[in-house]
């Protein structure tokens, strides 16, 4: 965020409310962090008072607890189970419907989503990198997903630098964090008395201009830089490399796949919380009167039965083949599809796996001894 040509401003804590007001004035519905069911979730934000202050997210394999931040910061929690994904790629929606008209002919019509301009406050560098991958999938030239595009277009993203990575974080090893580098409209870095703020888009520049902030001092900018370096250094997990394609694809019969399959519940939680997973299932939901039908799509998972179902048989009948599909797609064949790994180091699949399977540990065990 500090490599942008724009000069950074300084937003004192006391003026955080003016940022939210400026976004609301521009017609944005604001979402921000809230504590719910023991986790940080994105919820409607009416004012700065709604932001939880002084919370941290203690995370480990299969473990997430909100704890107190001794410094009483706004954004000391690393992340929650979801951030941007459900707001751009809807978990469940109708994509078209068909009706029988009076003459008995079928009439197909699109069901575009009702979209409102939406500002999300508190997205992380890993989330932005993941969004870029979702964009690459859903907005591919010649095959743009209209529903995703409509929501994506109206997002305003306020990123916040991570100062307190969780024990599950490893964005430094994937090269995606902890300081936001691109993809945001506004980026904030929290210091003890306020935020260094930088714009990353015209929309962000307009909001920043309206706030009329004093320029950030050299010391403040240096403090942000150091905070980013320290947050990267504090990360305890890492992937064994940025491109594990050949190492993983050369070990499709590694005994570790059996070991992890014995532990894996095939619940699909990792794929649901993964900010880059984009698989979905489609089905028709006929109305009860027999005169219309909705074509619905919903998040799907390679850990489910129907995901591997082809005509007459299932290509991934057991948990071993499903876990292998997930890991090799995410870390190996994603390179063929998108030119990079599908992992941005957010660590959600580790924390939100009910049995605590650690992607970094599995990847390391399976690729051990491979040529880099």
């Amino acid at each position: 965020m500090l490599t942008q040509p724009d000069p950074a401003g300084f937003l004192p804590h006391a003026r955080l409310r003016s940022l939210i007001a400026a976004l609301r004035d521009r017609g944005y519905r604001c979402l921000g962090p809230a504590a719910e069911n023991g986790a940080i979730v994105m919820r409607e934000l009416d004012a700065e008072e709604d932001l939880p202050r002084g919370l941290q997210a203690e995370q480990g394999p299969g473990h997430y607890r909100l704890t107190q931040d001794p410094y009483h910061r706004y954004f000391a929690w690393a992340n929650g189970p979801q951030a941007i994904k459900p707001l751009a790629f809807a978990p469940q929606e109708s994509v078209w419907q068909v009706r029988r008209d009076a003459a008995g002919a079928l009439q197909f019509e699109a069901t575009p989503p009702a979209v409102q301009a939406l500002a999300i406050i508190g997205v992380r560098a890993c989330d932005l990198a993941a969004l870029a991958l979702q964009d690459a999938h859903f907005l591919r030239a010649g095959r743009v997903d209209a529903h995703y595009a409509a929501r994506r277009e109206r997002l305003f993203l306020v990123a916040v630098q991570c100062a307190e990575p969780a024990a599950t974080c490893f964005c430094a090893s994937t090269g995606d964090g902890p300081t936001p580098a691109a993809g945001y409209d506004l980026a904030l870095a929290e210091l003890s008395d306020g935020f260094v703020a930088a714009a990353g888009s015209d929309a962000g520049r307009a909001v920043l201009a309206a706030l009329d902030l004093a320029p950030a001092t050299t010391q403040q900018i240096e403090a942000v830089r150091q905070q980013g370096v320290a947050a990267a250094a504090a990360q305890t997990r890492r992937l064994p490399g940025r491109n594990l394609r050949d190492a993983l694809m050369g070990r499709l019969e590694h005994p570790r796949w059996d070991a992890v399959a014995a532990r894996c519940l095939a619940c699909g939680n990792c794929t649901a919380v993964c900010p880059t997973c984009f698989c979905h299932a489609e089905m028709d939901v006929p109305a009860l009167d027999g005169e219309s039908s909705r074509h619905q799509r919903m998040w799907d998972s390679c850990f489910g039965e129907s995901h591997g179902h082809l005509h007459g048989f299932n290509v991934r009948p057991d948990i071993r083949s499903r876990y292998r599909q997930w890991l090799t797609h995410k870390l190996a064949t994603w390179h063929d599809q998108f030119g990079r790994s599908g992992c941005t180091g957010c660590g959600r699949c580790i924390a939100w796996c009910p049995v605590g399977i650690d992607l970094t540990e599995e990847a390391a065990a399976i690729t051990e001894g491979a040529q880099p």
Binding site: E36, N37, G38, A39, V41, G62, H63, Y64, R65, G80, P81, Q82, P86, P91, Q92, A262, R263, C264, L265, A266, C267, G268, N269, A272, V273, M283, V285, P286, L288, D289, G290, E291, M298, W299, D300, S301, G304, E305, S306, D318, I319, A351, W352, C353, P354, V355, G356
Partner: protein, 265 residues
């Protein structure tokens, strides 16, 4: 099929040993039930009014388990009179809560509870409908949900096989955006081994799933029991997690038996 002119399929709803909750799921549909009634002829549904248990039907919904000598005979009769037989709810698909007696001395329970035990006529075991007759489709849940029932009827009316969703509750839970209660609160949730269909009702209220929709496909009960142990559950508590509404579903029965071995150690 033209809904207006076609001969309406005849539908019956039969009750066996059960609490009536699944029939209520159908009754509670409100307007949807009226829409449904316009497309089918409800010829037998004691709880709603029409009574004609022995008539020929296209679709018979069967609620309840086979738990009495009378049930044993009647289920054969229902099967003979029904073109399609759909078992609905935990009792009909796994034997239900009353199947907890299968692993105990039921006669002794009856003697202890009732002042006139001779007035009770029940079989030693409570068993699912499929143990007695051919079942064309099973709808799991305690109780089943109204939308599930409608989807089945709708599919049959359209002449297609009803969609069986054997995915885990977690898939519905995550689509609703609920944080995993096992991870954020350390409670022993049955969601990762339980069949979807309820819309993750319990995790949505911040509590753990108790498995009322029965086992999901590829339910890794060993891994879940191990995690329950890590969360601090005593072996007996792990047995109880699997020995509940669907205690006799083979996957949960085996998991409970395995956990019980831990109790003996």
């Amino acid at each position: 099929m033209d809904a207006q002119t076609a001969v309406k399929p005849r539908v019956a709803v039969h009750k066996f040993s059960s609490c009536d909750g699944c029939q209520l799921a159908l009754l509670n549909l409100g307007e949807d039930l009226l829409a449904l009634a316009a497309r089918v002829e409800l010829v037998h549904f004691a709880e709603a009014g029409p009574l004609d248990p022995d008539t020929e039907v296209d679709i018979a919904f069967v609620e309840g388990s086979v738990s009495t000598p009378e049930d044993l005979e009647r289920i054969q009769q229902v099967r003979r009179h029904s073109r399609m037989l759909i078992a609905i709810g935990a009792c009909a698909t796994s034997g239900g809560i009353q199947a907890l007696r299968n692993g105990a001395d039921g006669a002794e329970w009856v003697a202890r509870i009732y002042s006139h035990p001779e007035a009770i006529s029940s079989l030693a075991h409570s068993t699912p409908i499929a143990s007695h007759v051919k079942v064309d489709f099973e709808l799991w849940g305690c109780p089943v949900s109204g939308p599930q029932m409608l989807a089945v009827v709708n599919a049959l009316l359209l002449g297609v096989t009803p969609r069986a969703n054997a995915d885990k509750v977690c898939t519905e839970c995550k689509r609703q955006g609920y944080p995993c209660v096992m991870v954020s609160r350390g409670v022993a949730c049955m969601g990762p081994v339980t069949r979807a269909g309820c819309g993750a009702l319990c995790p949505g209220l911040g509590r753990d799933c108790y498995g009322c929709y029965g086992p999901a496909e590829n339910a890794n009960t060993d891994a879940l029991a191990t995690q329950f142990d890590h969360l601090g559950l005593e072996p007996q508590a792990i047995v109880h997690r699997f020995q509940s509404i669907n205690s006799q579903a083979p996957v949960f029965l085996a998991a409970a038996d395995k956990a019980r071995m831990g109790c003996d150690e």
